[in-house]
Every structure is written in C-alpha cells, then in structure tokens.
C-alpha cells in the first residue's frame, strides 16, 4: 500500500465517517406544517409567517422575544425566542424559526426573517374607485 493513500485515505475515511454520523445527529429538516412541528421531538426549522395582528412581546427580564406564527393551513403556534428581536423583523413576510416545540410553545434558538424584495408580491387594489 502506498504511503500517500494510507495517510490521505485514513484522514478522509475517518472524517467521512464522523461527518455522516454528525450529519444524522445535527441535521434539521424544514417543516411547513405546524401539526408536524408540534409532534416532532427533534429540532426542526419551522417555516411560516408572523401574525402581525397579534403583535409581539419582548420580555426584558428573561431577554426573550415571543410572537405568533401561522403556517399555510392556518395553524397557529406561539414562538419564544431566547434572544433579541432580529433586524428587519417588523417588515418580514415569512419567518423561519429553528428549535423545538414543547408545552405549547415553540422554543426557537434561531430566527431568520425574509423580507419582501419587490412590491409586486403585495396585493394592490385600485384606489381611484
């Protein structure tokens, strides 16, 4: 066996092995149905939209930030994020939260907000009528 294949092969094999193991341990699936999010015991990335009408709360004592999210089917879920409100949150159209659902609240460790990049996406009505 050639030395270079031994050394190189060893590193690659070991890391591929560890990588596959860690991948199965740390992979997170996207979930757009909150019914499934609530059943899942794993960490998931729940995608939906922020319900603007129900506003959001900032708890300074515990430094948490909570709001309500809605999925495509209209299921509603309370999200509590242990951290500060992200930039752009107010104008976000869709939100991706990473975390676990537990006791009626989705505890998020990460929030990602998507903002409307173009006006076309918003409904527009004729005003002159």
């Amino acid at each position: 066996m050639k030395n270079k294949y031994m050394f190189g092969g060893f590193i690659i094999v070991v890391f591929l092995g560890v990588m596959i193991y860690l991948f199965t341990q740390t992979n997170v699936t996207y979930e757009s149905s909150f019914t499934k999010v609530m059943q899942s015991e794993k960490t998931v990335k729940a995608t939906g939209s922020w319900i603007k009408e129900r506003n959001y709360e900032i708890d300074r004592q515990n430094s948490t930030f909570s709001f309500y999210m809605k999925d495509d089917q209209g299921n509603i879920m309370k999200v509590m994020y242990h951290g500060t409100i992200p930039n752009n949150f107010e104008s976000s159209t869709s939100v991706v939260v990473t975390g676990k659902y537990n006791n009626g609240v989705f505890h998020a460790t990460d929030i990602l907000t998507k903002c409307p990049s173009k006006y076309q996406e918003q409904p527009v009505q004729n005003a002159s009528s």
């Binding site: 590193i11 560890v18 990588m19 740390t26 500060t84 752009n88 998507k114 009505q125 004729n126 002159s128």
Partner: protein, 801 residues
C-alpha cells in the same frame, strides 16, 4: 440600448476568439492574431458596457430596471458606485469585467511562454463567454428597461409634475396594507409617456435605493475583491486543461503557481473582509456564522490552499519527469473553478432561499437552468478531459513517497484541507435536499482538522524533501515542542482554557508558530523572497489561536441601561448618557460611557428606522483592544414617555364601531369629508378628511374630530384634543374603502412637555459581549495575505522559462 449592443458584440467577439484559439491549437498558422483581436475586441466591449452602466448609475438613469431597483439619488459617491454590484445583474457584470481584465494579463503572460497561449486562452475565453451569456439581454443584462416587465413604482419616486396627467390615472394603484400609492410601470404606460413626450428618465426621479445593510464602507471593497478572486479561479482551471490538451504535465505547474497563489490570496482576503463586515457592522456578534454564502466561497479557497501544497510538491520533484501528484494537481486545479461555479449556483439560483441571512431574489427558471448548464458543462469539460487522459496518467505517474518526507507531509495537509472542504460543502448543500445542519456540525468536525493542520503546518517544514532521518527530525523539533508546551501551559493556567480539544488545538497551533518563527529568523539573514510560506504559516497559527480564544471564550449578556445610572458588566461600568442624531438625522447614535479604572471611553452603537424596508436597523460599536474587544450591540430603546407605551395607545375602529378605553367609550361615528374633497382628490390638490368620534366618559358625551390632510402622496395628521379628559386623538392611518381608522390616543401633557406625575426613565437595552483575542484572528489573516503576496512574487519570478 448601446449597453446591450456592446454586450452582444462582446459575446460574438468572445466566441470568435475561442474558435480562433482552437484553430491555432489545431495547428493553423494565421489564426493566432485573429484570436488576439477577438479577445481584445471582447474586452473593449465589456469595458464599454461597464462604463455605460457606471455612467447610468452616476447620472441616475432610472429608465434602466437595474438602476431603479438598486440605486438612489441620495447616495454618497462611494456607495453610489457600489450599487453597480448591489444586484444580481450588476454583480455578474462585475465578475465578467474582472474576468476580462484578468484575461488581458493572462494573455500577455501566456504569450511569452511558447505555445501556452492558445491552449490557456481557449479555455479561459470559453469561461468568459459563458459569463457573457449570463449578462446578455435575454438573461440578466443590467441594461433591461424598466417597462419591459410590469412593476409597481412608489409614487414618491415619481416626478409630481406629471401626476395630474389624465392619461396616467389608469395606472395609479394603492396598497391598503401599507397605504402606499403606486404607478404601474409597463409597456402601456411607456407608450402613454412617449405619446406625451415625457421620457422615463424625467418621469422617475428617484430609485428604490440601496439596502441599508449594504450602506457602509465594506460594501465598497468586499464584493469587488471577492469577484477578482472568482475571476482568478478560472486561471488554474485553464492551465490544468491546457496541460491535459497537450498531454504534457511538467511546465504548467510552475506557470500556474503564481496565479493559484495570488488567486487564493485575493479570495481569502475577500472572505475575511466579509467576516469583518459581519462582525463590525452587521452585528452578527462574530466574524463567521457558517452561513451558506460565506461557506460557498470558503470551499474553493480551501481547495485552492490544498492545491498550492500539492503543486509545490510536484514542482520540487521535477528533476526528472513531471514530478509527483500529477493527477491530484490536475483535479484540484479544475475543482477550484467548478466550486466557484457551484457556489454561484447555490447562492444565485434561489435554492438556498430559506437557509441564509443573505437575501436572494429568485432569478427565474431560465437563469436557474442556465446556471445548471454552465456548471454541468464545465464539470464535463474538466472531468471529461481527465477521464480521457486517465489511462496515460495512471501508467506514467506512479511514484512512492517516504513516510518521513516533506512530500507526504504536504500531501496529508492538503488532504486535511480537502476533508474540511468536503464537510463544509456537504453542510452547505444540505438545503438542496430540504435539510440543513446545525452550526455544531461545522465546529465539531473542523476542530480536529484544525489540530491536524496545526501539527502538519509545523512538522512538514522540519521534514526534508524525499527522506528525513528520524533522529534529525526529533532534534530539530525539540525546541518548538518544548516552547509550544510551555506557551500552552501558560495559556491554560492564566487564560482558563479547559476544554481538552481546544487545549490540543492551542498546542498544535503554538507548535506551528514556533517552528515557523524559528525558520523565519534563520531566513531573515538569507534569501528574503523565501519568507512567504513561513509568514503565511505563522498567520494560520496565530489565526487558529485567535479562533480558540474568541470562539471558545466569548461571553455575552443583555442589559438594560437606565439613563444616567451606572451598571457593571464584565468589569466595565456602563452608563447610557443619551442619544444624538447622526447622518443628517437619518440615524441615531446612542452614547454609552464605558469606564474601566481611570479610562473613560464612549461607545456609539447606532439604531435607525430604514425607510428602505421600514424596519429598525441596528449597528454595533466595538471598543477594540489588543487582548479583547468589548462589543456593544444595541437591542432597543425606550424613551420612557409613557409606562410601557412609547406612543400612546392605538385603537382601530370601523365606522359605527365602539371601543372601551380606560373606562371611556369611544365611538367612531362617521368620516367627515368636505364637498370639494372629491374634486380635490382627483385633481391632486390638498384636502382634509375628518373622523367624528363620540367619547362617553362619566356619563357625559364629548365630540372630537381629528383629521388627516392629504395632498398627493403626502399625509399630515391634524390631532384633536379633549382637554376635559386630558387626551389627544390623532389619526395614524385611514382606509376610506373599508371605512376604518387607526386612532392614537395619548395623554396631553406628555407631548406638551408640562410636568408629569410619574418620573420617566429612559432605557437603552444593549447586548454587551467580550471577545478575547479576536485581534489575533485579523492579525493572522493579514499575515497570511502578506505571506501569499511574498510567495506569489517569488513563484512568478521562477515561472519564466
């Protein structure tokens, strides 16, 4: 229009140049000069198109969709120029431009080296041609006119002088949610405007502007440097394919080395500038978030660094024959460019939409398919050629290395870098399959690789080429080993580093640091052009130590700072002293006085509401120190005007509805509109709409009539007071269609400034964090860049035949 013509001509000239180079390669005699003319024509056309785009941006030519969407008239010059590459079309244009310029240098370089030019420039030209297809008028040209696809233009961006034109009324729209008014831009309105002799450039007087996140110094330098790196990645690809085409694998190594070195240097610098941007301005709290966009440019960089090491081995072992690692080098050099293309595909196709903080505009199916074809074709070209020559390669290049040889050390180092590249690549590609990985995945896997790299970084340099005696190896490494153990022990004792993996990483990095330092001191007396590798290696060792400290031992805490009161955080006394408007009142700087011992410093984190996306933006401030950074990110501010409510309470009522407010009943009875209102509305002149409210309190009835004055797009609220109940009513929002008003109710005395029974508190909430030795990360990167520059200089001297 001229822009699109220039781009089309460039594409034609590019194709012509590639064909002529191919014919030259096939042995035709008179085609080389034609090929050069073709390439130069293409370059001139690309330069022309770029100059036209820049001119359009500088002179605010909003008839171009790209200029309207990403630029604005109120930007300072530097940022205005940077809108050139703020969007997809422009950044492809910039990539094309830099590739063309790099190609001019490459043409000159290769033309001096026998028959290299036709082979290299044929492949390089092909890559450039594909970039030109990307920016051609049918795909992503920045010269597309605004009216070619329907778009809604905010009324505030339109010259008010033309709004009263009767023919335009059909194109007016309003959005009930945001209460904004729009003009629908389309071919129809374009023909109306043309018929009225109005140019679009006169009609639209303001662009959408640049995203406030991008409005800073780093936007002006990070993307251009990144695109220079991207442009240079096509060079090793071209050299490798040129070697495969000729089936000759010796000379290309020394010819390509300076290019690989400088390309990797530029790409690495760009990546870390992006990291500094994230840390210092965007307020991520760190320099690296394993975000897909960062990752996707890190992967080609890692492969580039790996290839430098194996190319060096091949170069060193060429006394007779082509040298070692012939196949590895071909594959790696090809991979750098393919990974840059893959990175482009990931970040531009919209496939990562949900996975990244970077915002992606879905480019549409055509662009998606084109990117797939672009990537697929170059994978086929690259690996197809390798497959074609594979038999020859395996038969001819088959040599053995000794265990204790520098060759094997460098090879193993390259493999470790590749392992890291694979890990990052897998993690970054996961969103394609609807999956994603946690940050832990990257950290835990890359930590042992960093340790291996540290050890190899030091030990490879102690090994001789070909074969090293075991006892020599021990003798030479003794000093560095002892020094590394001592340094690590000191850091563990005084720095409190306790996690075992981090201690090992420290030890291996310190070892690398001392080995390189020792060699460097020896060289300083000798040939200084050899210093490059050692400087870069010290850089990586310093960088890794910085990563251990800042990554493993950062601490953060969210605190409320009451104005005028001191609060101790991490040994610093923090005190919020007030805020002041900056940038002509567009932003607010919040002054935080930081006292430690006798020194007083002021940190000024910034918050502002960006008009661009109507949301609160925050910018951190950092007290940079040699041993640690004190990082202050703003979270929120409460003016303390009211207990818990910043701006009073807002009630939303439709006509006839009532609501309870602090024991009072408020009924929205009707809108009150003056008779001339309707006429005023259609003529665009000022008019007033009132809302009649009945307030029932303590059995009495009161009437108030707040109003809103509307003129064109502007709205002004006229508040009404109810002195008996000490209340002020103000309309914040009104929808005539659904008959709904939002009314803000606040106490009178707050705004009038008279005394208030309650003592109000101004509170600034910040997240304070300590980042120990983050300076080492930047110092390490700077050293690496300097080392790369030295090496690139040395290898370019050696590349002359």
């Amino acid at each position: 229009m001229i822009g699109n013509i220039a781009l089309t001509l460039a594409l034609v000239a590019g194709v012509f140049s590639v064909i002529m180079y191919y014919l030259t390669f096939r042995g035709y005699q008179n085609t080389l000069s034609m090929a050069r003319i073709g390439y130069h024509t293409m370059s001139v056309m690309i330069l022309t198109a770029s100059a036209l785009l820049l001119h359009a941006i500088l002179t605010h030519q909003y008839q171009y969709k790209y200029v309207y969407n990403y630029s604005g008239s109120d930007l300072p010059l530097g940022l205005l120029i940077s809108t050139f590459y703020a969007g997809q079309e422009g950044s492809f244009m910039l990539w094309t431009l830099f590739t063309a310029i790099i190609g001019l240098i490459l043409l000159d370089y290769t033309s001096k080296r026998s028959d290299l030019e036709q082979r290299v420039m044929m492949i390089f030209g092909l890559a450039l041609t594909f970039l030109l297809i990307m920016v051609n008028p049918l795909l992503k040209s920045p010269f597309t006119y605004l009216w070619t696809t329907p778009d809604f233009i905010d009324l505030k961006n339109i010259n008010p002088a033309f709004l009263s034109l009767p023919a335009l009324q059909n194109f007016m729209f309003s959005d009930p949610q945001s209460n904004k008014q729009f003009v629908q831009m389309s071919r129809d309105i374009y023909s109306v405007l043309t018929a009225n002799n109005i140019s679009v450039n006169e009609f639209i007087i303001q662009g959408k502007g640049l995203n406030p996140l991008l409005q800073n110094f780093w936007m002006q330098i990070h993307p251009p440097i990144l695109f220079v790196g991207f442009a240079m990645s096509a060079v090793p690809f071209s050299f490798a394919l040129a070697a495969l085409l000729k089936n000759e694998y010796k000379d290309w190594v020394k010819q390509a080395l300076p290019w690989v070195l400088s390309g990797t240097m530029v790409l690495g610098l760009a990546i870390m500038l992006g990291g500094y941007w994230a840390y210092g301005v965007l307020g991520w709290g760190g320099y690296w978030g394993w975000d897909p966009v960062e990752n996707s440019s890190l992967v080609p960089w890692l492969v580039g660094v790996a290839s430098i090491h194996t190319l060096l081995v091949q170069r060193k072992t060429q006394e007779k024959g082509s040298g070692r690692f012939v196949k590895t080098n071909l594959i790696l050099s090809i991979m750098i460019f393919l990974l840059v293309l893959y990175s482009t595909f990931l970040t531009r196709s919209g496939i990562l939409g949900d996975a990244s903080v970077h915002s992606f505009v879905d480019p549409g199916m055509t662009v998606y398919l084109f990117l797939v074809i672009f990537l697929g074709l170059f994978v086929i070209i690259g690996f197809g050629m390798i497959a074609y020559r594979w038999k020859y390669l395996t038969v001819n290049f088959n040599e053995e290395e000794n265990v204790l040889s520098r060759e094997l050390g460098l090879f193993t180092g390259a493999v470790a870098l590749l392992a890291s590249a694979i890990i990052v690549l897998v993690g970054t590609s996961a969103p394609i399959f609807g999956q994603t990985v946690e940050i832990k995945f990257y950290n835990e896997l890359n930590l042992p690789i960093a340790i291996i790299i540290g050890i190899l970084n030091g030990s490879s340099l102690l090994l001789k080429w070909k074969l090293t005696e075991k006892k020599d190896f021990w003798k030479q490494s003794r000093f560095s080993m002892i020094a590394a153990v001592v340094l690590t022990a000191l850091i563990v004792l005084f720095g409190g580093v306790s996690e075992i993996m981090l201690v090992v990483l420290l030890l291996s990095s310190a070892f690398a640091l001392f080995v390189n330092g020792e060699i460097m001191l020896k060289i300083l007396r000798g040939r200084k052009s050899f210093l490059g590798a050692y400087i870069a290696h010290i850089g990586i060792a310093v960088f890794l130590i910085g990563v251990v400290a800042s990554g493993g031992y950062s601490d953060h805490k969210q605190v409320d700072l009451v104005k005028g009161e001191k609060l101790n955080v991490f040994g610093y006394d923090l005190s919020f002293t007030g805020y002041e408007p900056i940038d002509n009142g567009k932003k607010y700087a919040f002054n935080v006085e930081i006292t430690k011992g006798s020194s007083i410093m002021i940190a000024k984190p910034v918050m502002f509401i960006a008009e661009f996306n109507n949301s609160l933006m925050r910018e951190p401030d950092i007290l940079v120190g040699l041993t640690k950074d004190f990082y202050i990110a703003p979270v929120g501010y409460e003016s303390g005007e009211d207990d818990g409510h910043n701006h009073g309470n807002v009630v939303s009522l439709t006509k006839g509805q009532s609501t309870d407010y602090n024991g009072m009943k408020i009924i929205f009875e009707s809108f009150e509109m003056p008779k001339e209102g309707m006429a005023a509305m259609s003529s665009g002149s000022e008019f007033k709409i009132g809302a009649s409210l009945k307030v029932i309190a303590d059995g009495k009835e009161y009437f108030v009539k707040p109003a809103m004055i509307i003129q064109g797009d502007g709205r002004k609220s006229e508040s009404a007071e109810l002195k008996e109940k000490n209340l002020r009513f103000e309309i914040t929002n009104m929808e005539a269609g659904s008959g709904r008003v939002d009314i803000e109710i606040s106490n009178l005395d707050e705004n009038s400034g008279s005394s208030h029974s309650q003592i109000s508190k101004e509170v600034l909430t910040v997240e304070a964090s300590i980042k120990p030795f983050i300076s080492l990360v930047w110092i390490g990167v700077i050293l690496m860049v300097v080392g790369f520059i030295f090496s690139a200089y040395r290898r370019s001297k050696e590349s002359v035949t």
